[in-house]
Assembly symmetry: C2
Homo-oligomer: 343 residues x 2
């Protein structure tokens, strides 16, 4: 049997299959897309030949013809901490179940990069996008574009308050409240808080949880003990040392997240103080590391997999529906205090 195939680029097209079988490309297309109205014999012949010639469909052509990229985008501030990889992994699983690819971009906590990444997503015609903003993001025009163009968007973790779209967050307030109350109930009197940039809602909510817990137990909030920083590694040492050297130093530190808490512990130890005897430390997120460090970190666990799955589901809910039917739920997932030896 002589194949008439002309394999430019080593690639076989439906046209090659059609010519070989002396049928039209429409029929081949019908077989390949699972369209019902094809004679079983024809279907078999096409499928057999496709298999035999190792036909590989061209998703790019399909994307162009169907006007959907079958791709969703993820825009996150960074990929290296253990929180995000877990969420990504969960999103990817859901996406693959739906037959979607995932384009991941990290903004490196830079607003500029986030804007660029959003453009790349647009260029690539993603069918939807899941976003967690950088600490610098104050203007949201680059994200509102998605709304304007009718591309579904879902936020998680670090959300944008001024956009009415689906969001997945955890009960940061409750989580922080519980963590701080735990410190109070274990006898701590002067509890400091290493907070994040006030631009982020999570910073504000966790701070409010902290303040509420103090208030409930009639402990006056001391502004000296509340430090808001920008997540830059170098500055943690400065702030922790500052706290330690206060004339009335704290006996506990509640950190905005686990990486901060872990660094805090290292610095306290470097100063010759003990954790938790001299200063207790509590973090937020239950990163993979937190159970392994010495002392193991008390922290507020987030359901990372559930966050990813929920975000993906909210996105696909929108992708599948007409935009007029979109809902904008805000899913608030529960956190869980994990008490370990650092407190």
């Amino acid at each position: 049997m002589i194949y008439l195939i002309c394999m430019k680029n080593h690639q076989i097209t439906i046209f090659d299959l059609a010519r070989e079988l002396n049928i039209s490309k429409s029929t081949v297309s019908r077989v390949l897309t699972g369209h019902p109205n094809v004679h079983p014999d024809t279907r078999k012949r096409v499928l057999d030949l496709a298999e035999k010639l190792d036909y590989q469909r061209n998703m790019i052509a399909i994307q162009l013809a169907t006007q959907q990229s079958k791709t969703i985008g993820i825009i996150i501030p960074e990929i290296l901490s253990s929180y995000f990889p877990y969420v990504i992994a969960a999103i990817q699983e859901e996406a693959h179940k739906e037959g979607y690819n995932v384009l991941i971009s990290q903004s490196n906590e830079s607003y500029e990069t986030e804007v660029t990444n959003a453009k790349v997503m647009l260029d690539n015609r993603v069918d939807g996008v899941i976003v967690s903003i950088t600490k610098e993001t104050l203007n949201f025009d680059h994200l509102k574009v998605f709304q304007k163009k009718g591309i579904p968007i879902v936020f998680f973790n670090r959300v944008c308050n001024e956009m009415v779209v689906p969001k997945v967050i955890v009960d940061d307030y409750e989580g922080a409240f519980g963590a701080v109350e735990h410190l109070i109930l274990s006898g701590r009197k002067r509890i400091a808080h290493l907070s994040g940039p006030s631009s982020l809602a999570i910073s504000v909510k966790r701070l409010n949880g902290y303040l509420a817990a103090l208030k409930k137990h009639n402990i006056p909030a001391d502004p000296e003990l509340i430090i808001s920083y920008d997540f830059s590694k170098e500055k943690i040492a400065i702030y922790v040392n500052h706290l330690i050297n206060l004339k009335n130093p704290p006996d506990a530190i509640f950190a905005i997240n686990d990486p901060t808490a872990i660094d805090t512990i290292q610095i306290i130890k470097k100063n010759g103080l003990r954790v938790p005897e001299d200063i207790a430390v509590v973090g937020f997120s239950d990163d993979y590391v937190s159970a392994l460090i010495e002392p193991p970190l008390t922290t507020v666990a987030q359901p990372v997999r559930e966050i990813g799955i929920t975000a993906a589901q909210l996105l696909f809910d929108q992708i599948k529906k007409d935009s007029s039917q979109w809902k904008t739920p805000v899913k608030i997932l529960k956190t869980k205090l994990i008490v370990r030896k650092s407190s």
Copy 2:
């Protein structure tokens, strides 16, 4: 001014721009692709209108027309350990510099999934692919397809010996040798080795390095102390307990990688033994966690960023060249022993 634009899907095309300016879409295309032969005035008019109407190029159409996806694929066994995210981040940086997108897929250490992922990459017509195989991968047909189709492929970390393509690895043998010699020089006599699946070259090389170090120092290799396991979390406990309970137990354990070493330490501690006093432990890779655990882990550091950058560069070298000019270098990067308190 009345715009004639017909914005199906809220998207503006070059045709819309052309009609609006009363010129041909060829000219618009020329402007947008930076082709030189365009009158400066025309160029400005096009650019201005594009800006004004917020024209967004359609990468999918471009990909189809130019026959390149401007996307590279990464196939890795998992994304959650700290080794891979660092490599990925480095690859992504390089890719973005070249104007390429990155499609990441994790095989979850499953051969089946790896095969599926390879197909997805092919479907999406990636211009090249960077691969680290699963522990199960013994057949490489799904990867040889890339070669056959002329799609550049680069391996890193876990490479395929039977394929002659560029690879990026570290000097596993030397690294293991140095780690074990370090244990010997610090007075350890019975050094066990928790090795990986023998299907992986890294397992074999690290094992050989281990054996060579013993030999050099005239320590007979005891088969009882060499355990090969499949990276499954559950089994580490069994093997470590087994080692501890030998009538002649080891005084040191060299683990194939850091996660294993970290788990090993936890289990030793659970057994009421001390690290390093009773048993020293050494790992491989210098994961982010390793410095933070108690005791901090002695380990063989890998240049993760350099691995990613090198792999990406080798890939782009091939992508840019005609396949007849492809070279197949194997870059062997240096490891570095980081001595901490676990040994």
